[in-house]
Amino acid sequence: MDPIAESTESTILARSTPNAEEASEAVRRVRRAKAGDLAAYDQLVHQFQERIYGLCYHMTSNHEDAHDLAQDTFVKAWQALKSFKGDSSFYTWIYRIAVNTCLNHLKLRRNRTPHLSLNDLDLQPENHPDLVALVSDKTPRREANLAELQRRLNEAILKLSEDHRTVVTLHDIQGLPHDQIAKILGVNPGTVRSRLFYAHQQLQGSLADWVK
């Protein structure tokens, strides 16, 4: 991989998966928040808001829905914080709440036509080496613009089943490892790999023009 791309990836992955120091800091904040310290919970929200929002956005492809779902996630987590025993990390626990909140939302809105609001988002992929590679002469559709790529990509992801979309979001987009995803979803790591395999097959079919 290109060194610049590798650097960008590592930054994103570092943001997606908390390191040991961040995890211990989260434990202290959780302890204070459980005692009713709202300022400590504010710090927890700051710590995880981008990741939780990202999960909700990639599950729904809608900014407004992602906003509401991410907020709901943190409010639910506060309400359930007293029941959090620390068997898993707060990171895993709040991710589980977010995934369940998104899945419930998708079930309720299953018949609604998804509204893509990418214009609301700040996408600056033109500087990203992956995208440069994709729109270079190696790609079959040189004339395609970024908006078309985004649209096709989102359509393909939205065609996935909710289970498959969840693992693709958590692994391919947010960079979580298989075992972490397994803990969040409460399934075996093998199940995660299996879902990823079938999801990739389906996506390759939907995005054949881009991946061949």
Binding site: L38, Q71, W78, L121, P125, D130, L203
Partner: protein
Amino acid sequence: MIDDEPSKRLQQLLRLKRHETPPPGYFNEFSDTVLDRIRALESERAIPKWRRWFSRGSQSSNGPITESGLWFVGGWNTAIGLSMLVATVGGLYWASLLTNSEGMPDNSPQQAARLGHPSVVAPAASTVGTGLAAKSMPELVEPRSVQFHPVTVSMSGSSPELSSTNPLPSGLFQLPGASGGGSEAYRVRFGNSPR
């Protein structure tokens, strides 16, 4: 697991989505909004359930809300609650009225009978043949008891004499002009009884 070229390109494509982020400054307000919602929930939780119910009704009707956000007249929940209250109080009042006119002990038929009220005693003494006295309708009941006393008429001289066990004072009986001897049947009329 996925090592071929299409798979790698797919993963590159999916990684592009990491760059889809909300507008700059979006997360500046995010946690404040979350905390506002939490504070609102906490303060709502401190309010008793029944007051919350009224409060929600007030808010759902888009009506004015007092500073405490709890009471105003005009919310549909409030209207329903007040209607139910009025209906309950009205029902209780009506029931008490009915009880007073029909079922109170000092007006009961049994109590009246014990006190010897004529409107109640009469039907008990003259139920034979009327059929109306069996009904407890005071306006249809004969107000006086009817008792019969044998009357003996004897002729001594030119004017008949009348004797009876009836305790009524003398002078209440009148004999029509009797002529001839022997025992005759006379219609005896009490002073105020209809002819």
